[in-house]
């Protein structure tokens, strides 16, 4: 478990990080809890790591212009324990607690998790359900990528090779929103075998996102339409569950065949909808 030789640089500004990324074969190092294991197995062998842990402000969590802004380098635990988050985005408080164990939560970052885009990671479903935008910065400046456009496939995102994620921005939900993250953990890794995040806004709009189910996390518009704006009751829940996963290519592996995973996803959607009733 020894990585191939690599260089290491610790930067203090986002611009320095972006500059460093102009070299091929350079990778951002955040919490290192996805990248380092892959390097130790020599599945990944970047020539250089740029550590963004020292960039001032990149771990900040604050409210700005009607949005919650979570710095990309904020750890899962930073988010989980933050009162602002607990107050406005209890979905994140609930979900962050289900990521890995305490060590993982203390090291792993939201930016790292989103950039890595593991098909079974927890954050992608939560940011999708929350209607977040991913703020990224590259040589040509900043842009915002809606979460719905960010995850493009298995371990792939809309991020350009020389861009870095700087923050996750979530519109502060109006009072009365309800949310939940329901996860069935893969027994060994405890990543999501199938998980569902639901955000029900005061006006009845309902965002439903799955992770662990397809090649990337996604919003389930079919299920959303079946319940958005309607009272949540047995009928609408069943309608949403029936509509869910339409046209989705469901993964199959050692722990869950396609049929079982599909079944689980629906069971967890149902659980989630019961929670936001």
């Amino acid at each position: 478990m020894i990585p191939a030789t690599f260089e290491y640089e610790k930067v203090t500004t986002v611009d320095e990080a972006i500059a460093a990324l102009s070299n091929d074969d350079t990778k951002i190092l955040a919490g290192g809890h996805s990248l380092i294991p892959a390097m130790k197995l020599r599945l990944n062998r970047p020539a250089k790591l740029v550590d963004i842990g020292g960039i001032r402000g990149l771990k900040d969590i604050k409210e700005e212009d009607g949005e919650i802004v979570i710095g990309a380098a904020a750890s899962h635990a930073d988010i989980m324990y933050h009162t602002l988050i607990r107050h406005h985005l209890p979905l994140f408080t609930e979900g962050a607690a289900m990521i890995g164990d305490m060590q993982v939560r203390n090291h792993g970052t939201i930016g790292g998790s989103l950039a890595h885009a593991d098909p079974a990671a927890d954050w992608p479903a939560m940011v999708l359900a929350a209607g977040a935008a991913i703020e990224v910065q590259g040589p040509n400046g900043r842009r915002r990528i809606p979460a719905t456009e960010f995850f493009t496939g298995l371990f792939s995102t809309a991020l350009e090779p020389n861009e870095i994620i700087t923050a996750v921005r979530i519109p502060v939900p109006a009072n009365g929103a309800k949310s939940t993250y329901q996860k069935f953990a893969q027994p060994a890794s405890r990543f999501a075998l199938a998980a569902c995040a639901v955000m029900r806004f005061a006006d009845g709009k309902t965002n439903i996102a799955f992770t662990g189910v397809g090649e990337n996390a996604f919003r389930d518009t079919g299920a959303e339409q079946a319940i958005t704006g309607k009272a949540i009751d047995e009928n609408t829940i069943n309608a949403a569950v029936n509509a869910a996963l339409e046209g989705v290519t469901v993964m199959s592996d050692h722990y869950a065949s396609e049929a079982y995973r599909k079944h689980l996803a629906k069971v967890y959607l149902k659980k989630a909808l019961m929670m936001v009733k």
Binding site: I2, T5, R42, A188, S189, H254, Y255, Y260, V267
Partner: protein
């Protein structure tokens, strides 16, 4: 039996101070002067011919000292198998060479092709990657039952049908068939006892050095039995005189069987250390551990149990294919035979038993003893059958067991119980543990709760397992007659220092069991001294005379008994010294609580004074040698037979198939108990490992012979939050044939627990009308869900 209350007391483990403060000294912690490091080039393929090995680029890499391939070791023997089993027709088992490096072809993924030695571990790893190996992939076989079929690829070109041996035990098959034909009911089960990866927390590690002046080697090894490694490596592999090799097993972080065996790397590093004239170290990576540490279990079995109209078992017929992997590991051949077939009497009076085992080679990691070794397979088979039979015959599973138990016998007043499968049980009270278990679980109440749950649409199940095991391995003459190529005695030297402090040199090896506490308790208790005054030394072939090591729950029953023999000699000699000082006859001296006293008087001297006198023999019996230091060897008269009753209460989630363990009751009878806390700890750990097999663990090979779950991302180890608080109790039926009356507790939990869990899940499904016979372990949520959906 205790003199100062130390025996039987839950003394805190003395070794834990160094372990929990990070001061343990493991093999990988040892760095020798001029240390070098090894890394291996391993086969990616399960079965592939080596066409060419190009080391030229790797040799030029920084820090590289030497690279060796199979060609360099053509004249060196392979590692041996320690137990000879014969075919039914009397032919010797097929025992193909297990070379230190393969030269012709790789037979499992991970087979070693070359070793690279460099100045640092990093350099060795980089250079190993630069060795270019050209291979031609060959068709492979991973499944034991398929491997014996005509046309299956051959793992060893000269082993027809991949059969290492076939073997049979018990009553003649005709008699068993006849009894089975007459049975009122026959329960049949086709099942798999899946392959497990041992997963000791410390990966295997070796550090070998050679001193050209004394011509002596030193091997540090993470082994459960350093003397045995020395014997096998010197006599069978490298042909080095034993007195020219010192083998040390320092602190070892768990073994569970996987560190019993003599591995190729141990011998190879030792060979290399002389070649390069420097010490060579290798520590397995976790990914290597998955591929190389001998796996456990892996049986494909058909078993039938016949009953008469009253539910009495009349016959048992078993056919098992045991997967031994690509090579015969040290004790692999005895596991599916003498540690499995011989246990199929279980706790029952079954009059006719026949077990037929075919042991086969496949393109997989070698399989050998893993906690319980053979006995979990036997217990799983019997306990699943009897619980299933209860469902099929609509009987209570506890009641069905009571009808079939061997009646209590103490092995003293009543003789031992002769089984149909070669063993003679020492002592037992089998109905006792089940009765106690039923009380603890409140059987009537949980059955009622189960019905209520079923009424409310919930699936609750109760599963039993009443098990027996053969431990205290083993009487040398018996195992010798069965093919074991070693004696299985143990040695112990008890050295009383002039100040009355005691050093004990034991051939047992502690790698988590707590010998430094348990053994010290025995010595301190018997000699009437403080626990602090006793030191337990183990794991060094130069300090300890000889040893057969620790496995098969043998340390206390065999190693502890050897210590007892030396203590007896010390007390006997002490009496002579005391008698001389007290001007009495040795026959009139009694030793109690640390004092030698003239019977019926208050004339007495202490143990410390006797010790001092032995080393300062001014006033001393004329014909007595000075010193107080005795070595003993103990060869047990029989195996010991711990037994017990495990009961699981589970709830199955109807929607997901996830099993939640609600309660787990373990009543174990391990004979006398020296330290109840340590025994309970062993039971807890064992139970967790058994439940790990039932619910979580299992090596999965694909058709290409790749272990697809060779990391903790996919191989599920049990975790603390998977379990409720265990409810444990002990019953004590002393072992009649060893001086401590102990039976052994290391494997009990693992042997008993798995079938209780699976039976509970099956029971839960039956309570909901799903009449399922079997679910393949591990009972992952998906498998349980399928069982419900498909039934």
């Amino acid at each position: 039996m205790s003199t100062n209350g130390l025996i039987g007391r839950a003394v805190k483990r003395v070794e834990d101070k160094r372990f929990i403060t990070g001061h343990g000294n493991y093999t990988d912690d040892i760095v020798l002067p001029h240390q070098t490091y090894a890394a291996f080039v391993r086969s990616q393929y399960a079965h592939a011919r080596i066409l060419n090995i190009d080391t030229s680029a790797a040799k030029e890499m920084p820090g590289v000292i030497a690279i060796f391939t199979g060609a360099d070791l053509a004249a060196v023997n392979g590692v041996p198998c320690g137990w000879q089993v014969n075919f039914k027709n009397g032919d010797t088992m097929k025992e193909p060479k297990h070379p230190l490096l393969v030269a012709d072809k790789a037979r499992h993924a991970g087979d070693a092709i070359a070793v690279v030695i460099a100045e640092t571990k990093e350099q060795a790893t980089d250079a190993a990657e630069a060795v270019k190996v050209e291979m031609e992939e060959l068709p492979c076989v991973v499944d034991a039952a398929k491997a014996v079929q005509a046309g299956a690829p051959l793992v060893h070109d000269d082993v027809p049908n991949n059969k290492s041996f076939d073997w049979v035990l018990g009553n003649p098959i005709e008699e068993v068939n006849e009894a089975m034909d007459k049975a009122a009911h026959v329960t049949t089960l086709d099942f798999v006892n899946q392959r497990l990866v041992p997963n000791a927390i410390e990966p295997r590690s070796y550090n070998s050095s050679y001193d050209p002046v004394s011509e002596k080697y030193t091997l540090y090894t993470s082994s459960q039995n350093p003397h045995l490694i020395r014997l096998l490596m010197c006599a069978f592999v490298l042909g080095i005189p034993e007195h020219k090799v010192r083998v040390v097993s320092p602190d070892v972080g768990g073994g569970f069987g996987s560190k019993i065996f003599h591995y190729t790397e141990e011998a190879l590093l030792t060979w290399c250390s002389k070649k390069i004239g420097r010490p060579v170290k290798w520590t397995s990576e976790r990914s290597e551990s998955f591929l190389l540490d001998a796996h456990g279990r892996d049986h494909v079995t058909k078993a039938e149990m016949g009953f008469d109209a009253n539910g009495k078992i009349v016959a048992l017929r078993v056919k098992t294919y045991a997967n031994l992997g690509a090579y015969l590991s040290t004790f692999s051949s005895c596991v599916p035979t003498y540690l499995h077939g011989t246990l199929l009497q279980g706790l029952y009076t079954t009059p006719k038993i026949n077990v037929d085992v075919t042991a086969v080679f496949t393109n997989t990691t070698p399989v050998d003893a893993y906690r319980g070794a053979g006995r979990p397979e036997a217990t799983y088979l019997l306990e699943r059958l009897i619980d299933l039979a209860a469902h099929e015959m609509d009987m209570d599973p506890a009641e069905l067991r009571f009808r079939n138990f061997i009646p209590p016998f103490d092995g003293v007043q009543q003789p031992g119980y002769q089984t149909q499968v070669a063993l003679q049980y020492d002592s037992g009270n089998y109905e006792g543990v089940l009765k106690k278990g039923l009380e603890m679980v409140n059987y009537a109440d949980v059955r009622r709760e189960q019905q209520e749950a079923a009424h409310n649409g919930k699936l609750v199940g109760i599963g039993f397992s009443t098990y027996i095991e053969a431990c205290g391995i083993a009487p040398s003459a018996i195992v010798g007659s069965l093919g074991c190529r070693a004696g299985l005695f143990e040695s112990a030297q008890v050295r009383v220092q002039p100040t009355g402090k005691v050093s004990v040199y034991t051939g047992s090896h502690s790698h988590g069991q707590g010998h430094e506490t348990t053994f010290a308790q025995i010595v301190a208790d018997k000699l009437g001294i403080n626990l602090d005054d006793v030191e337990i030394v183990h794991g060094d072939s130069e300090a300890v005379a000889f040893g057969m090591g620790t496995y098969g729950s043998r340390s206390l029953a065999v190693g502890g008994s050897a210590i007892m023999k030396s203590i007896d000699k010390i007390i006997e000699k002490g009496k002579k010294i005391a008698a001389h000082k007290l001007e009495a006859s040795a026959d009139d001296i009694e030793f109690k609580s640390g004092n030698f006293t003239v019977k019926g008087t208050d004339k007495s001297i202490g143990f410390g004074e006797v010790a001092l006198t032995a080393y300062v023999p001014h006033v001393y019996p004329k014909d007595l040698e000075p010193g107080l230091d005795f070595a003993s060897f103990y060869d047990p008269a029989n195996f010991t037979y711990p037994f017990g009753c495990h009961i699981a209460v589970v709830e199955v989630d109807k929607e997901t198939g996830k099993v939640s363990l609600k309660r787990f009751i373990a009543v174990d009878d391990v004979g006398n108990v020296i330290n109840p806390m340590i025994v309970e700890g062993q039971i807890h750990g064992g139970v967790v490992q058994g439940i790990g097999q039932a619910l979580f663990e299992g090596a999965e090979y694909d058709d290409n012979g790749q272990l697809t779950n060779a990391s903790y991302m996919d191989y599920c180890m049990p975790r603390a939050d998977d379990f409720p608080m265990f409810e444990t109790a002990s019953q004590v039926t002393p072992c009649p044939h060893n001086p401590l009356g102990v039976k052994g507790a290391g494997e009990a939990g693992t042997i008993g627990s798995a079938p209780a869990i699976v039976n509970a899940v099956i029971d839960a499904l039956w309570s909901g009308g799903h009449k399922v016979k079997d679910i393949r372990m591990p009972l992952t949520p998906e498998r349980v869900w399928h069982a419900m959906v498909d039934a």
